[in-house]
């Protein structure tokens, strides 16, 4: 059998938005930018807004990052052909992409609160969103997870959170509820409060 090595990563560079969100970059292409909306119509479950920023090791907010999220629907089903447990909400894409606000760097996702999804051994994970960050200066896209601070009970038994040795870093994975249906999630690339990233 022919086994190949994965293509090595290279930074997304300063102009990732030309390729991935051209309309945001001022280049009118396609029928709008992919991932700009996660809803095709009325969706099931609690609709939420997640907003936040990516910070570098000096505390500066990145103005040239691109964030993608991937998550289950409100029932905990992924809108994917590989989802075999049921049919996900047809109006929910599960995938969002944000270039961040050009003035503030704040990314925003209009999404739904995900339901619980089983871990490999069948135990239920706490509601969470998979997050992927690329930017100039990031050599390999960074994977992390966003959990919800207000899901205290589910978080306490989450198989991944349970296995994190440095308990004081767990808050770096928690979105804070700032208003009804509004969550704040900041990503710190380096230093004090550095987000836990996953080799997953």
């Amino acid at each position: 059998m022919k086994y190949l090595k994965e293509s090595p990563s290279q930074t997304a560079g300063p102009y990732v938005h030309i390729g991935c969100t051209p309309n945001f970059a001022g280049i009118r292409m396609y029928d709008g930018d992919l991932g700009a909306t996660m809803k095709r119509g009325p969706v099931q479950g609690e609709e939420i807004v997640v907003t936040g920023a990516v910070h570098d090791g000096m505390g500066a907010v990145l103005m040239d990052a691109m964030i993608e999220i991937w998550q289950a629907d409100a029932a905990g089903l992924y809108p994917s052909p590989r989802e075999v447990r049921g049919r996900a909400d047809p109006n929910f894409t599960g995938w969002g992409r944000s270039a961040g606000n050009p003035e503030t760097g704040l990314f925003t996702f209009d999404t739904v609160k995900p339901g619980q999804v089983p871990w490999r051994d069948g135990t239920l994970q706490a509601p969470h969103v998979t997050v992927w960050i690329v930017a100039r200066g990031i050599n390999l896209g960074l994977h992390t997870r966003m959990y919800f601070e207000d899901e205290t009970e589910a978080n306490a038994t989450d198989p991944i959170l349970k296995r994190i040795e440095h308990r004081n870093r767990i808050p770096t994975l928690m979105a804070r509820k700032t208003a009804n249906g509004v969550y704040r999630f900041d990503i710190v690339l380096q230093g004090v409060g550095e987000t836990i990233f996953f080799d997953i």
Binding site: M1, Y3, K5, S7, Q10, A12, I18, Y78, N139, Q190
Partner: protein, 240 residues
């Protein structure tokens, strides 16, 4: 339950911190990433249908040009396959590309290089792989460009690639270089990859058999995404 995706070889990929690439100094995590096997959330991913593509999405020579106009520069076709580590073609993979124009200038508000914009070149395109994982797009060969890093750093001619496989664990952004370009070996971003063999996999090969005579030369570039461990196991069984 599947066995999950093959772990990334972090010695093959560039490390987060590569001091010669100055921006990585403040944007590289200090703690080691936490290792977990993939689960459903990483083994699924968004699906992109061929129906979402416009007729010119994979033709950067005309997709931004005025009617009847074309982008300036050496005309090329870039073609290849998206494969997984098990050597299987990945069908339905979304490939998004972006690049500078023939003079090395990007169409971007932060771009300060003195080379001129080409009014007929936007610099982005996209394509979805066919049932065998093949993709193809037409463009102009981008120019090299200087960038603020060291006092005199230049990027080799390159095309940026963003690729979705069938699982979010396979998500990858990389760059394609051109065979024979001496600038490849002077670039701090290329140099973030420590192994020469790994760098060589990012260098597209001129393929004269695929050129369109009197029109465009062809470059071949394959992209490999992470593979599934279960597939690996099945293949072993089949092969025994």
């Amino acid at each position: 339950m599947s066995e999950g995706y093959i772990r990334r070889d972090r010695d093959w990929h560039p490390p987060a911190l590569h001091t010669a690439y100055k921006t990585s100094v403040m944007r590289s995590p200090r703690a080691a990433p936490l290792s977990f096997p993939t689960s459903l959330g990483e083994e699924t991913g968004p699906v992109f249908g061929h129906d979402m593509l416009g007729a010119l999405d994979n033709d950067l020579i005309t997709n931004f040009a005025q009617p009847g106009q074309m982008a300036l520069g050496p005309r090329i076709i870039v073609q290849g396959r998206v494969l997984d580590e098990n050597g299987r073609g990945v069908p339905g993979a979304l490939v998004e590309v972006w690049q500078a124009n023939a003079g090395g200038r990007y169409r971007h508000k932060n771009e300060s290089y003195l080379a001129p914009l080409d009014p007929n070149f936007g610099g982005c395109g996209r394509v979805i792989t066919d049932a065998e994982g093949r993709y193809e797009f037409r463009t102009i060969q981008p120019g090299p460009y200087p960038w603020p890093n060291g006092p005199n750093d230049w990027r080799p001619a390159h095309i940026h690639f963003s690729v979705f496989g069938q699982a979010f664990a396979q998500r990858l952004i990389t760059q394609m270089y051109f065979d024979g370009d001496p600038m490849i070996w002077q670039c701090p971003i290329v140099g973030s990859i420590s192994q020469t063999a790994a760098i060589e996999t990012l260098i597209a090969k001129l393929d004269m058999t695929q050129t369109i005579p009197m029109d465009a030369r062809a470059y071949h570039f394959d992209i490999v995404l992470r593979g599934n461990r279960q597939t690996l196991f099945e293949n072993r069984q089949e092969g025994s």
